[in-house]
């Protein structure tokens, strides 16, 4: 019997659809589409990465070895643009395509990695790395690891250990660095070692007002609320005003605004005692619930320092 | 005549009139009785004499195992008799017995006993009541104690196992696999010097324990001190050359407690980690030795010598699961409880039930395994079951599957009968065991792949190859006499 008999020849056909279905990757992509409004460039990149991994899996089945591609990434963008959510889906995709074994996400910041005194940092960083093994390590505001103004900062030690593991244990974990675009760019400039190990740079754009209103509606629906038509109009005005204010954090600001609207709705319903409430009453956010915001009266965010 | 729904006479003058009245009417049958949490409950398999009403037979058993005698006594009225009377409260026909079957009718009779009837911490007292008189009782043709529910309040008055599985493992520094042992053979006739040779070879070859047999005490061919001295020389030599803690169950069974204590003290002075007793020394002696073992940091091994005389027949005697419960209370650390695949009696389900009773912190009802009562064990330590009798390395996958990890696998013939010698026999068993545990932990289907796993391990272990070849076809397929009464039925899904 010849040695090659059981091996597929170059002409053998492979059913890419079957592998695609088997990985159930479409589920994740669909969920991404349904749960995340906008972010078209991000979704495109994720599709591309998924395609790369899928083809890589096929090639492996035919013994076309190429070494695992590096999958470390950087997610840049303003707060509230969906970086953590996408990272979680990314972990899921990497798991389904067999790139990581467990598919969990460990989210950390500088405080989890860097110690206060000599000999403290290495064990802390290793501890985090061990927890993330088999999954994805998400380091938010990664540039805080590097403080050039302080010569004795222990962050450099942490970066060194991270680099080592990112290089030598690619099969064991994927690192995603996240933060503001400009600061991240500076971080990579001063840490070329880190920059060269990041295979995918994904930029998360800000949401436009239409997208933010859609996001709001999605968030409300998830907790069994809805906006009346008038409320939606008012909220669209709110969003435009809010975007111009300081500390605007995209989806996060939207969530905060909705939380406050729910508070006002509750108050309004409570004060209307004496009439019978319907289920619809309990579900509906009215225009008034937004109009009471200080954005409309004082032109300041409800969360601004002087308080409501 | 006034009586309640269960037939008990309620009028005191009627009830205590001199003469003979049925037990049922004396108050030993109460169909409405709901057992208290503190009651001891006994479940008997009862075969009434022809023509005897099963409820009356159950009441008679309740009566004779608690306060009654054959006739009415007025002195009952000086006591809280109502409390002290055991109450038969339920009688079920045993499945597959009675009319339309080949077996005469048998009944499961449930009898509840108030806690006040028992002395704390005494198996002797408990058993004197429950099995004291009733087994020779004329009203029943045959009687078997099937199971007992021991209330937590009562369990707490017993020491329980001197050491327990967990602490035994910590003392031996052996984790995550069954313990391996072998009984020195031939059972009788070896001199002390030759006896120690077998111990040394077996332990050096890879076993953790060797064992005296039940009838090795202090006979003319080998007095006990000689056996102890030579065995401990062997144990310590083997420990030095392996770096492992090793042991030999030194059987201290003797004619008097004084002699047993003397032998146990000597075993301790030689540095033994374990001593051994036989079930035939009696419940009180067992409890005394358990206390001694706890006080002296020794593991206590029990050989169930003699149990077959009363545990084997299905219609009469005591089920071994009850003996298992009593021995856990009495405080032994090891007890022989069946192998499933070996040469001795033991239906797989029944044996697994015994193991559950010995090893779990809490037993749920499991009729298939013969466990009739929920039984919390009140943090009494766990007893290590010992599987011994006709087992060999080629069955390792089955042994691990059926018996689990907390068990002593005792390969006597399977070690000493090895064609390449005792040491090689021990090595074969150890390699087979380690390979099987490794495969299990790797998530392999080791029960089905067992023979392949053993073959692979034998590639780097000639003794294992020889063991597999020697005993490849040895199985003991006889029908068990003690089988479950309840089998799982598949019910159609709706």
């Amino acid at each position: 019997m010849s040695d090659t008999e059981n091996k597929p020849s170059e002409l053998n056909e492979i059913d890419i659809d079957a592998i695609y279905r088997e990985s159930e990757i479409q589920d994740v992509l669909d969920r991404l589409d349904a749960e995340l409004i906008g972010l078209v460039p991000v979704k495109t990149r994720i599709r591309e990465i998924a395609a790369l991994l899928l083809i890589d899996k096929l090639r492996r089945q035919l013994d076309l070895t190429a070494g695992n591609p590096s999958m470390h990434m950087s997610f840049t963008g303003n707060p509230g643009t969906g970086k953590t959510t996408v990272a979680m889906r990314m972990a899921d995709i990497l798991h389904r395509l067999g790139y990581v074994r467990q598919g969990h996400l460990v989210a950390v910041t500088r405080d989890d990695l860097v110690g206060q005194y000599i000999g403290h940092t290495a064990p802390k960083t290793r501890e985090v790395l061990k927890k993330a093994m088999g999954g994805v390590l998400f380091i938010d505001e990664a540039y805080y690891l590097y403080k050039p103004e302080n010569e004795r900062d222990y962050g450099a030690e942490s970066i060194e250990i991270l680099l080592q593991v990112m290089e030598n244990q690619r099969d064991d974990l994927v690192v995603i660095l996240a933060g503001y675009k400009d600061r991240m760019d500076k971080f990579f400039e001063s840490n070329p070692g880190m920059s060269s190990r990041i295979a995918h740079h994904i930029d998360f754009p800000n949401y436009n007002p239409t997208e933010l209103v859609q996001i709001a509606k999605l968030m409300l629906a998830e907790s069994n609320y809805r906006m009346s038509d008038e409320a939606e109009d008012v909220f669209a005005q709110y969003v435009v005003k809010r975007m111009e204010m300081p500390n605007f954090a995209n989806a996060r600001s939207i969530r905060n605004a909705l939380d406050r609207a729910r508070l006002r709705q509750a108050n309004r319903l409570f004060n209307s005692r004496g009439r019978m409430l319907t289920k619809a009453d309990l579900m509906t956010i009215e225009a008034d619930d937004f109009l009471k915001s200080r954005i409309f009266s004082d032109g300041v965010d409800d969360n601004s320092e002087d308080g409501e | 005549m006034d009586s309640n729904g269960s037939g008990q006479i309620t009028d005191a003058a009627e009830r205590y009139k001199s003469g003979v009245i049925p037990y049922k009417k004396m108050g030993y049958w109460d169909a409405d009785y709901v057992p208290k949490e503190t009651d001891v409950i006994a479940l008997f398999r009862l075969t009434p004499q022809p023509g005897v009403d099963p409820e009356e037979a159950a009441a008679a058993v309740a009566g004779e195992s608690s306060t009654a005698t054959w006739t009415v006594v007025w002195t009952d009225r000086l006591t809280a008799a109502e409390l002290y009377r055991a109450k038969a409260y339920r009688v079920d026909l045993v499945p597959n017995t009675g009319p339309g079957t080949n077996t005469e009718a048998q009944y499961f009779a449930y009898i509840a006993y108030d806690l006040d009837l028992f002395e704390e911490g005494s198996i002797a007292n408990l058993t004197a009541s429950i099995i004291g008189n009733v087994f020779g009782f004329k009203a029943v043709k045959a009687l078997r104690l099937e199971d007992m529910r021991l209330p937590v309040a009562y369990l707490k008055t017993f020491q329980g196992p001197a050491t327990g599985i967990i602490v035994e493992r910590e003392r031996l520094d052996k984790f995550g696999r069954p313990i391996l042992g072998a009984t020195v053979k031939p059972k009788l006739g070896l001199s002390g010097r030759n006896y120690g040779r077998v111990v040394y070879e077996a332990l050096k070859g890879g076993l953790d324990f060797t064992k005296d047999d039940e009838n090795i005490n202090s006979q003319p061919f080998m007095h006990w001190r000689d056996r102890f001295l030579y065995s401990m020389e062997a144990v310590n030599r083997a420990s030095a050359t392996t770096g492992e803690v090793k042991g030999h169950y030194l059987n201290v069974t003797a004619g008097t407690m004084e002699a047993m204590y003397e032998r146990a003290e000597f075993a301790k002075s030689l540095g033994s980690v374990i001593v051994m007793i036989d079930l035939v020394i009696g419940y009180t002696a067992i409890q005394s030795m358990a206390k001694w073992a706890r006080d002296n940091s020794m593991i206590l091994h029990l050989h169930r010598a003699g149990h077959g005389t009363y545990t084997r027949q299905k219609n009469h005697g005591i089920n071994f699961r009850v003996i298992s419960k009593w021995m856990r209370m009495a405080g032994v650390d090891h007890i022989h409880a069946g192998t499933i695949v070996g040469k001795l009696e033991g239906d797989p389900n029944m044996v697994r039930g015994f193991y559950d009773i010995l090893r779990e912190s809490h037993n749920d009802v499991n009729l298939e395994r013969g466990i009739f009562f929920e039984q919390p064990w009140a943090s009494l330590k766990k007893v290590m079951p010992v599987a011994s009798g006709g087992i060999h390395a080629g069955q390792m996958h089955q042994l691990v599957h059926y018996l689990g990890e907390d068990v002593v696998l005792q390969f006597g013939g399977g070690t000493i009968g090895h064609p390449m010698g005792v040491q090689a026999g021990a090595t074969a068993n150890r390699v087979a065991l380690e390979a099987m545990i490794m495969a299990r932990n790797e998530g392999r289907d080791y029960l089905n792949e067992g023979p392949k796993i053993l073959d692979d391990a034998a590639k780097t272990c000639a003794p294992l190859r020889a063991a597999l070849d020697t005993w490849k076809d040895i199985t003991f397929n006889y029908a068990s006499t003690d089988t479950p009464d309840f089998v799982p039925t598949t019910t159609g899904s709706i």
Binding site: M133 | D173, G206
Partner: protein
């Protein structure tokens, strides 16, 4: 040289089998993690059978998901103590157990001189035995 059939110290679950590969070690650790057992690494240069407290190479590792994390530490331990005995243990914290559930050796000294047996003769042929690891004749850290 130790004279038992394996020619080496036989403590632990798998000492009678060929040395475990990293892959085999990972499979065992996976079993431990699947049971939610904390895994720890310990090392020693004293193989006495009752040397219970080997040195801890860090604390037991809790809340880990993947064997790679522990293998990384094992390799670190091997690099630091190439000539020591190193064992992997798994701890089961369930009520009624609260004790090690696994223990196996993953590193050994290149040469294992083993232990000697000392005997102190007493009355009536009674003997007190003692074990002595030859390696412990040398000071700590210079034994293998």
């Amino acid at each position: 040289m130790i004279t038992n059939p394996t020619g080496r110290l036989t403590q632990g679950q798998f000492s009678f089998l060929p040395d475990l590969t990293d892959e085999q070690i990972s499979a065992q650790i996976k079993w431990a993690l699947a049971h939610d057992w904390a895994v720890s690494i310990e090392y020693t240069d004293d193989p006495h059978p009752r040397n219970t407290y080997w040195e801890m190479f860090g604390l037991p590792m809790f809340d880990l998901k993947d064997p790679a994390a522990i293998l990384m530490e094992i390799n670190e331990a091997r690099k630091t103590f190439p000539n020591y005995y190193i064992r992997v243990m798994a701890f089961n914290s369930t009520r009624g157990v609260e004790s090690p559930a696994m223990s196996f050796i993953v590193n050994r000294p290149a040469n294992e001189p083993g232990l000697g047996l000392s005997r102190q003769e007493g009355q009536g042929r009674e003997i007190r035995y003692g074990f002595h690891a030859y390696a412990t004749d040398k000071p700590e850290g210079e034994r293998y």
